[in-house]
Assembly symmetry: none
Homo-oligomer: 198 residues x 4
């Protein structure tokens, strides 16, 4: 195997990342097993080290990729409409990513909750562009009078991300029973914008 490599190698790398994401999502970093990941990807255990120098690096790459994919959801977000519509579009896009990349998203969220000093910076770094978009949308909303102006947009953005995350966690924790992925976007908006009070 040589020469025609580069594409093939990239494919193998993707296969490994895919399986690694699935295993990290299911088992967490410590319980995930390098050997099992390799086998699941159709390789022997040594092969993984032709692509990643260590379990940590592999995890970091999965995380990086998860962040990257999560961020792309904002790429085509509409600009013209109301803040509610724009947020709705963002959440809809986000849930689509979740559907397609569930293991990666799960790793991301699971790890974000772990408070581990070696992974937290990775997440923060990669989530920054994501938050920036959100902040911009919310700041626009504040100017337009659609969003309450008693908090800085940066804090509002964190609350929004937190709300979304919490709903994902409940989705996973309930085994998909409630909320379902279908109702999740509307629920997120209502929870964040309207509150439960009358």
């Amino acid at each position: 195997m040589a020469r025609i490599t580069s594409e093939a190698k990239e494919t193998s790398r993707q296969r490994l990342l895919e399986e690694a994401a699935a295993h990290f999502a299911r088992d967490g970093f410590d319980r995930a097993n390098i050997n099992s990941i390799a086998i699941a990807a159709g390789f022997a255990k040594g092969t993984i080290y032709n692509y990643f120098t260590s379990k940590e690096e592999l995890f970091g790459e999965v995380l990086t990729m998860a962040c990257r994919r999560a961020v792309t959801r904002y790429a085509g977000s509409p600009h013209g409409n109301s803040v509610r519509d724009r947020l709705a579009a963002l959440v809809a896009a986000d849930v689509d990513v979740l559907r397609e990349q569930e293991p990666f998203m799960k790793v991301l969220i699971r790890e974000a909750m772990g408070f581990r000093p070696d992974t937290y910076p990775i997440i923060v770094e990669h989530l920054a562009p994501f938050l920036d978009v959100l902040i911009e949308v919310l700041a626009t909303g504040v100017e337009a009078g659609e969003i309450r102006n008693d908090r800085p947009p940066a804090q509002l953005a964190l609350l929004f991300v937190g709300t979304l995350t919490m709903l994902y966690v409940q989705y996973w924790g309930s085994g998909g029973a409630w909320p379902t992925l279908e109702e999740l976007p509307e629920l997120a908006l209502a929870t964040f914008l309207d509150g439960a009070g009358t």
Copy 2:
């Protein structure tokens, strides 16, 4: 004599549970180290096995205790006032528990985010009474017209717990920068009841 002995034993057990909570909170289940926990509690490695049959069981006991303590926060909650006031009292009590039992709470939340089939049932089971109180308060609020009636109180309760949890996570994740524990109760209420919209 028997009583003194068993009291002493209970004290030792508590010491072990405290230290175990601290370690599990800081390191997570897999990275926590039985030896370190024993040492920190002033015992040798082997002694832990006079109190708990395995690391898993120790963890389960920590979790159980965390749930039990968390639930006690509702014991003396006021009954007469508005839903907002009652929720405020609940959150205040909760944050007090958090302050005093931070490691236990951290273990609880951390584990709740892990979706692990062997620990999730424990959490759900122990959180049930906690949720019941909340559901009752919210149901009252719906009847009184203080809470929107477009969702079942059980779902509202989950949303409320989720909101609170998310704020704790951001508190820990930010190293206590935002939100602070002082502003957290008011923030939780505002977020849950009022929403960010105008």
Copy 3:
């Protein structure tokens, strides 16, 4: 097993060091096998890590002990006689140590020839007192006119150690055929002091 430990533990440690020396002597650092050493000492592989934190440390301890033992040979060296007699006594003592601690000496010499940056300093450090004695003896000899004064005693000491080492190497290399341990001391003296010329 507890309480009466300390002596027993020291015994176990010695057993491990003894076997480690034998294995390092025979196989060298890289080919020596932690598992085999433990087994040979009558332990399971994990046990070695109750005594030494790593293979490197174990090796360092073996080396340190080899140096310590080697140096003791000079403890009772006679002071009154001629330089030749004093050197003879030193060599005789040295060969005695070799006989009793062959694996340790072999590790020492083998490693000294390996020029490895992580072990060379250990050897140099531990050999210093050893060289100091030698330098003192030779300096005395120079003053007494028994030793040529065209080289600093420090260099002469290195030449002497080198000569001795070289004879040990030939002893081991020849499988004990030539020189034998019996004739080695006299041979060392004659080689170092008299030379091969007429």
Copy 4:
């Protein structure tokens, strides 16, 4: 065409041997890395196996070549003069080889000190002609009364080789500080022929 090809092949083989020598000299057999050797020689890992069947064989070839080169130093040694002069010429030639082929010489000496049953015979076998020349010179010296006759020339030859080797080791061990390559030949002769006594 065949010849050009085989010449090219021979060149590649030489390149590999040179790099292998450098790596074995620096890192020792076990720590030397097939991949690094190949890369350093401008090839990929696999290519080495077109020239040598295994790491062991490669090492054996390096050793063989080191011996072969070491032996050539005696080819043009002068015959007419005194033993001292002839030895001086031999050592001078030897040091020249050392200068030019340092890695090979280092491998040779390093390995000779290792007492390994699979490599020792190779060394002995290849050093035989080398020793024969030396024995002849020394035997002549004994007859001429220049060399003491209380030891067989074969033993004297071993002592001489040992003295030289020891000085090389000290040269490398001291990082070239003492002895320097310039003073080494004279030092070897003085040490071997004259001794340190008066």
